[in-house]
Amino acid sequence: MALSIRLFTFAAPSRFYWLSGLLAPWLWAAAVVLSVIGLYIGFFVAPTDATQGDAYRIIFIHVPAAWMSMVLYLVMAGWAGVGWAFKARLASMVARAIAPTGAMFTFIALWTGAFWGKPTWGAWWVWDARLTSELILLFLYLGYIALVEAIDDVRRADNAGALLALVGAVNVPIIYFSVKWWNTLHQGASISMTSAPTMAKTMLLAMLLMTFAFWAYAFAVVFVRTRAIILEREQHAEWVAKLLNRGAHA
């Protein structure tokens, strides 16, 4: 019993508001520190690629952004579904808070992909399975945001959004496996790497550090946006009044 109470403690918006406010500064700091180290290794330690020259350095943001775009979509759809199935208001708020960040990372993946495609394939854009399914992901995020913002009744908006997000989740494995299922221009990341293992290691290290930096960033920005949504929705709640009074007098 005690354990189950503890597990759901942070499902209360008031507790989550407090905890996320505590964690956010550390997550911002982690994002900055990891980015600085990752970019340093990516630009000053990792050598020029044997086949792609220095254009390959786009990988350090392109791949992490593409990963985040897919992971965030699944997390968003998951929380939207939990909010719908269990009437958990915080879960629905978190789902809404993830959507703009997911859309931004999807846009970054597409944008950096275009800037990488031009010098390596000779085209900014091709209607290839990987690129097209990633573009559909952007439209799913934007559709979700438009849908939940268009419906005035908050619970109905959350539920309609959850339905869209869950149906759209089928697109994520399509993006992921598109390079295997269809013939595509889009190469797997490891193929373009130089053959020398020490070189590949520094490239991989920079990419992983940037991935962790993007994770920290995503957590931080989603936490802050969730805090904003909590206050927007619960501004008449007693705990908000207490919190604001304490802030005003402190």
């Binding site: 000053f44 020259g53 786009i58 800037f115 802050v224 805090r227 949504i229 008449h236 005003a248």
Partner: protein, 56 residues
């Protein structure tokens, strides 16, 4: 060291436009989003405070 000079660094082996075009837009968005989100949180706080003082 990979780069012989700062202009060598910014040229990115001839791929400067593509590399900096990618990083520039990414950096701009990743500064803009936290700023906009922090502003939204600040406004939500002010609105909640306002609603509370009106009710009191």
């Amino acid at each position: 060291m990979i780069w012989n000079s700062s202009s060598d660094f910014f040229a990115m082996g001839g791929y400067g436009l593509y590399v900096w075009g990618s990083y520039g837009v990414t950096a701009a968005l990743m500064f803009l989003e936290p700023w906009m989100t922090a502003r939204r949180h600040r406004r939500a706080r002010q609105d909640a405070l306002h609603a509370e003082t009106e009710a009191a």
